[in-house]
């Protein structure tokens, strides 16, 4: 045997890998279930998710009034399926907003837009009972003035954090900030402005605003979008709508970056506050989608035939004249469908994006009186929705429903599975969701052990 093996060229590993890779054998798909729209660097859930973690904004007078990480059991067959099984209060209200997992998925980072505090939760020691591992309290000082940590995006060994504001004027000019997985500050990358273009090509204007951050590593591209600063996102929604000056302070750009060098290359003009960015999955699909909150448009950010990145408005979302206010989006793993939530009408719309330049609405359903986030499983069969946008922007009175709703999608219809009423449970305003699973950490569900 040893002789036989020794006859295999010592370099055969290299040769076979190169041959195999060159003809794409590694592209064969195995079945996985995971939320879409996550960082490509992250560990994956294989199989059914066990938990949905929900970040909530505390409401004064409701429960302990603090922001929380809420764990909901979504494992089929579990005795507590569809129920809240754990809550973890952070002791205070921070305008808790988005959250992201580290590349090894051991920690969930969540940011407070008001206080700029970042909470790092340990979700691997006991995935059913997360605990607070660390709190970053000096984000503003360390970053050199960035305010409002928003998107937490996993890079190898690091977290890329897009902020929303700054400590000089609390407007929309802001930065990307890098931290190690251990929560130590690395560096800050400011977003180009008219005064400091940072070498970027400016299509129309450089507003310096930030919101989401996503990457397409095989093209060495990173995209950032643009929302608004602290002075607006902390203002009462009705008051802001009536404030002419405030309404001018919204982002109108998507910035294209050299991912490896972390250098801004081009600032695209995308008016109307482009929010979530979702890259397509396909190996030749060099494009991403975003939606503009104020103009209710679906935009395509794409690489043209000359290798130049461009932005193009490709569809209306509902009737823009009624201001549906599109918020979260989720792209299917086959690049054929895109779910789009809109806050004002509480609807989710499904677009056929097979032709990315001509998306077509093919389905819609009202989920609640207001709607914000959507997470879908990797196989596209399970969708979860939550309701809160911002504490001061959520609807008032009876329309201020706060929930997590779970649905199944059969390709034609969304079927309701369960609802968790976050007000009834005294949990607060439900915002971003992330999936968890025992299998990620070499663990098995307790019932499987007892069986």
């Amino acid at each position: 045997m040893k002789q036989l093996l020794s006859k295999i060229s010592v370099g055969s590993l290299v040769v076979v890998m190169l041959v195999a890779a060159s003809i794409g054998i590694f592209s064969v798909t195995s079945l996985q279930a995971d939320e879409t729209c996550m960082s490509p660097y992250m560990a994956k859930i294989t199989g059914q998710e066990d938990f949905v973690y929900v970040l909530t904004l505390g409401v004064e007078g409701l429960g302990d009034g603090s922001d929380k990480l809420v764990t909901i059991d979504v494992r089929p067959g579990s005795k507590t399926y569809g129920k809240v099984i754990h809550t973890l209060s952070v002791g205070g209200r921070n305008e808790m907003h988005h959250a992201g997992l580290t590349d090894d998925r051991r920690y969930l980072w969540a940011g407070g837009l008001d206080t700029s505090m970042t909470f790092i939760f340990d979700i691997h020691s006991d995935p059913a009972k997360p605990r607070l591992h660390k709190t970053i309290k000096d984000f503003v000082a360390k970053s050199g003035g960035a305010v409002g940590p928003h998107t937490f995006y996993a890079l190898p060994g690091r977290m890329m954090i897009s902020a929303l504001s700054n400590d000089k004027d609390h407007g929309g000019r802001t930065a990307l900030v890098e931290y190690t997985n251990e929560g130590e500050y690395i560096t800050t990358h400011w977003i180009p402005t008219e005064e400091n273009k940072l070498g970027a090509k400016i299509e129309k204007i450089a507003d310096g605003y930030g919101y989401d951050v996503r990457v397409l590593p095989r093209k060495n591209v990173m995209l950032t979008s643009s929302f608004t600063g602290w002075s607006n996102y902390m203002m009462d929604f009705g008051q802001m709508l009536g404030d002419e000056e405030a309404m001018k302070r919204f982002g109108q750009t998507v910035t294209v970056w050299d991912l490896h060098a972390r250098k801004a290359k081009k600032v695209l003009h995308v008016p109307g506050a482009p929010l979530e960015i979702r890259f397509a999955w396909g190996p030749t699909h060099n494009y991403a989608f975003t939606t503009t909150a104020l103009t209710s448009k679906l935009w395509l950010i794409y690489e043209d035939d000359k290798g130049e990145w461009q932005a193009k408005e490709v569809a209306d979302i509902g009737d823009p004249s009624t201001i549906p206010l599109p918020v979260d989006i989720s792209i299917g793993t086959d690049d054929k469908t895109l779910w789009v939530d809109s806050f004002m009408d509480g609807k989710v719309r499904l677009f056929d994006i097979s032709d990315p330049f001509h998306p077509k609405p093919i389905y819609e359903k009202t989920i609640g009186s207001q709607l914000n986030m959507v997470s879908q499983s990797w196989d596209g069969k399970r969708l979860y929705f939550t309701s809160s946008l911002l504490a001061n922007w959520d609807k008032k009175g009876q329309d201020d429903q706060q929930f997590l709703k779970a649905y199944e999608w059969d390709g034609h219809e969304l079927t309701h599975k369960f609802t968790v009423d976050f007000y009834k449970e005294k949990l607060g305003r439900s915002h971003i969701m992330r999936f968890g699973a025992y299998s990620l950490y070499g663990k098995v569900p307790p019932s499987a052990v007892s069986n």
């Binding site: 076979v16 003809i23 560990a43 190690t180 590593p217």
Partner: protein
């Protein structure tokens, strides 16, 4: 038996790859997030021009971590002693890894970098490669030595350009893994039985002569051109401050 374990990934690769090639050569199936990353990285052709050396910065990410290790000849070392004052590319592997997009890819990439650097002896002299096993129970110094011989890396090993390392115990290994943030867990089946494999996110570390980690590469970044440009960037940075 040990040799068989080492070569098993290769045999598996050949047996699996050949029929799959026929089936999937014209496949246009969608790619999972993970697969998208892997496909991009195993196709060794970069789809973009990497940024030129010196045109960007690599801010220090963290301090490198020392630890007690053993080389493939059974000699004991401290990691820092092996790093010396060189630019170091450090990977964590286990020799029985059969995930082509994991340890074999890391080893392949390190070898490609090594071979490329040998065309520039001055630059090659500035760089060292360290591959440390996170399966010390199986990967003894003897197994690591066989691994290098099997894959044709024994010459680099003898020149001390590329060290294949292991540890005497989990107690010696774990602080190193923790220090670099390399999370590794044993894989278990649905009944809670160990499969013998490990689950880990592939990470390769670039450490500068001041023993600071300057970049971390996952599968998507394991391109020799990119890593060599990073090394050149650090060398230019050092020259700038001297």
């Amino acid at each position: 038996m040990t040799l068989f374990k080492i070569i098993l990934p290769l045999i598996t690769l050949v047996l699996v790859a050949l029929p799959t090639i026929r089936v999937s050569a014209h496949s246009d199936k969608p790619h999972s997030n993970k697969q998208n990353e892997n496909t991009a990285s195993l196709n060794r052709q970069l789809e973009y021009e990497p940024p030129a050396p010196g045109s960007y910065r690599l801010p220090p990410i963290q301090q490198a971590v020392d630890g007690d290790v053993i080389d493939a000849d059974g000699r004991e070392h401290h990691l820092f002693e092996l790093m010396a004052d060189k630019y170091v590319i450090l990977s964590f592997i286990f020799t029985t890894c059969s995930d082509l997009k994991g340890c074999p890819l890391a080893t392949l990439t390190l070898n490609n970098i090594r071979v490329t650097l040998e065309k520039d002896p001055t630059l090659a002299e500035e760089v060292r490669f360290l591959s440390l096993s996170f399966d010390p129970e199986h990967d003894t110094p003897e197994v690591m030595r066989q691994y290098t011989e099997l894959h044709g890396f024994d010459d680099a090993r003898r020149k001390n350009r590329w060290r294949f390392l292991t540890t005497t115990s989990k107690n010696n290994l774990q602080p190193i893994l923790d220090g670099y943030g390399q999370y590794v867990v044993r894989e278990y089946d649905s009944k809670g039985q160990s499969t013998g494999g490990f689950s880990h996110v592939l990470k390769v570390y670039l450490v500068d002569p001041e023993r600071k980690v300057r970049n971390i590469y996952s599968t998507s970044f394991l391109y020799p051109e990119l890593i060599i440009n990073d090394i050149k960037t650090l060398i230019l940075e050092k020259a700038e401050f001297q």
